[in-house]
């Protein structure tokens, strides 16, 4: 998929673990892993909003378009 999820980069910048993020965002570690590994087919605006709020970033910092 040409959409790349850079959540791990943002987590590293904020020095936040997957467990901590999942607790703060309110989604399971399994779902967060799916998102992190790029296996997710879609992301809800509510999830994106929560992640952006916790990581204090913009949606563009997490999602990136890379042409195939």
């Amino acid at each position: 998929m040409p959409i790349v999820v850079n959540i791990d980069v943002m987590m590293a910048r904020r020095k936040m673990s997957l467990t901590e993020l999942s607790e703060k965002v309110g989604i399971t570690i399994a779902n967060l892993s799916v998102l992190k590994t790029g296996k997710a087919k879609a992301i809800r605006f509510s999830t994106l909003e929560a992640i952006c709020q916790v990581l204090d970033c913009q949606p563009g910092d997490i999602l990136e378009f890379v042409a195939e």
């Binding site: 989604i27 779902n31 967060l32 997710a40 087919k41 879609a42 992301i43």
Partner: protein, 204 residues
């Protein structure tokens, strides 16, 4: 899912129908094998020829089979049948006088259809069970509907082949074809449902 009484009734009916089909096939095969081993037991068995579409009784009281070219072939004569009443003489003939190939064809045809119907019922029961377990749009249901479609095609082909060497055989050939079409359409619907389900599961 809340206990759906309609599905429970459908499961019970399906199971009963499957048992009936299996029993029918077992009895048919037993009688067929037994007839081969001890044909003398069936000497007195008389066949109701008026219900058979491939043969008929002509005005002379002979059992006649119509060939494809239109020519008639005498298979058995009821004169030697020795039936009691005059009315029955026209209708019933002893089993040994019935064309042997007709019996073979009828057995293979009936056994084939019973077997296919049995497997179709089993697949339908699998689908109903999956609906009860809330696993409706799964890949195995897509495969079940495809199998049902192919088995309906099998029934249709069996009837088509039978109509070639059993002249006068005329069964409703449209129903299995329509069932096949419906099964393949349902397989595609379930495939789409499965795609949407997987997509939904991977939406975070």
């Amino acid at each position: 899912m809340k206990n759906n009484s309609l599905l429970t009734v459908a499961t019970a009916l399906g199971t009963f129908f499957a048992i009936l089909l299996a029993l029918g096939l077992a009895v048919l095969t037993f009688v067929f094998v037994h007839w081969h081993i001890t044909p003398e037991v069936y000497k007195k068995v008389k066949v109701d020829m008026q219900t058979q579409e491939l043969v008929f009784i002509n005005s002379k009281g002979e059992t006649v089979k119509i060939r494809q070219g239109g020519e008639e072939e005498v298979v058995a004569s009821t004169e030697s049948a020795g039936a009691g009443e005059a009315g029955q003489k026209q209708r019933y003939i002893p089993l040994p006088q019935v064309d042997r190939s007709t019996l073979y064809s009828l057995y293979l045809h009936t056994a084939g259809i019973l077997l296919l119907l049995f497997f179709i019922t089993k697949e339908v029961l699998k689908v109903i069970k999956s609906v009860q377990e809330l696993t409706t749009f799964r890949r195995n249901n897509v495969q079940s509907f495809r199998k049902i479609g192919f088995m309906c095609l099998g029934i249709s082909l069996l009837q088509w082949v039978t109509s070639f060497f059993m002249e006068g055989y005329s069964r409703d050939r449209m129903t299995p074809m329509l069932c096949m079409l419906a099964a393949f359409i349902l397989a595609e619907v379930f495939k789409e449902g499965n795609r949407l389900l997987e997509q939904d599961q991977l939406t975070i």
